[in-house]
């Protein structure tokens, strides 16, 4: 039973446009939400995070939005660049629990 769902396995976006990656969760106990980026043959690397007390966190081209009532998390990348092409995982936890990951969305930014 998946607690964290990324329903789009892949996404293609033109360079310069906005990329929107989505993540839904079922467990309302989650209070910390992260996005990881993964290139082939490498481990996931941390990108951006948000705690449950906020609904938006911005870092340069990356913005994470949290809608707690809908149990929905999204990552916006604008403008998208070819180097952003990777697999993006949302990961959630609460307190001292390990991260629970979504299945990932493969983003392809086309030049």
């Amino acid at each position: 039973d998946q607690q964290v769902k990324q329903n789009s396995p892949s996404l293609s976006v033109q360079e310069g446009r906005i990329s929107i990656l989505n993540c839904d969760y079922t467990n309302s106990m989650f209070d910390y939400f992260l996005w990881y980026k993964k290139y082939p043959a490498e481990g996931p690397t941390f990108l951006i995070s948000i705690s449950s007390i906020k609904d938006k966190n911005e870092d340069g081209r990356f913005t994470v939005f949290l809608n707690k009532s809908a149990k929905h998390l999204s990552l916006h990348i604008v403008p998208s660049q070819p180097g952003d092409s990777a697999v993006y995982f949302c990961a959630l936890n609460s307190g001292n629990t390990p991260l629970v990951f979504g299945k990932g969305t493969r983003l392809s930014v086309i030049a």
Binding site: Y32, L34, Y36, A41, E42, G43, P44, T45, F46, S49, V87, F89, A91, N93, G95, N96, P98, L99, V100, F101, K103, G104
Partner: protein, 114 residues
């Protein structure tokens, strides 16, 4: 300066063999993990260690035995390998069990069981 390192990066072996994967972190973190990414691409927690003590074992078969000789190392031993063990295994670390929720991952070890 690799924060979390794993060896080997690739491991190909026959069914029934015993193998080990090593993990080291130089971040001074207290908590370390092993994750498995299977063919369906899910990253699933296997084990969690805090200060060399096992705190989580997510119903992993007892053929898998983690060993933490010190806080900086968490090795994974696998006995009697099976075809279904083929996956990418990621080691990760975190500053502590609580707070600082970011986990740092190693590059992964791709295990292929023939």
């Amino acid at each position: 300066d690799t924060a979390v390192s794993q060896t080997p990066k690739y491991l190909v072996t026959q069914m029934g063999n015993d193998k080990s994967i090593k993990c080291e972190q130089n971040l001074g973190h207290d908590t370390m993990y092993w994750y498995k990414q299977d063919s369906k691409k899910f990253l699933k927690i296997m084990f969690s260690y805090n200060n060399k003590e096992l705190i989580i074992n997510e119903t992993v078969p007892n053929r898998f035995s983690p060993k933490s000789p010190d806080k900086a190392h968490l090795n994974l031993h696998i006995n009697s390998l099976e075809l279904g063990d083929s996956a990418v295994y990621f080691c990760a670390s975190r500053r502590s069990q609580t707070g600082d929720n970011e986990q740092f991952f190693g590059p992964g070890t791709r295990l292929t069981v023939l």
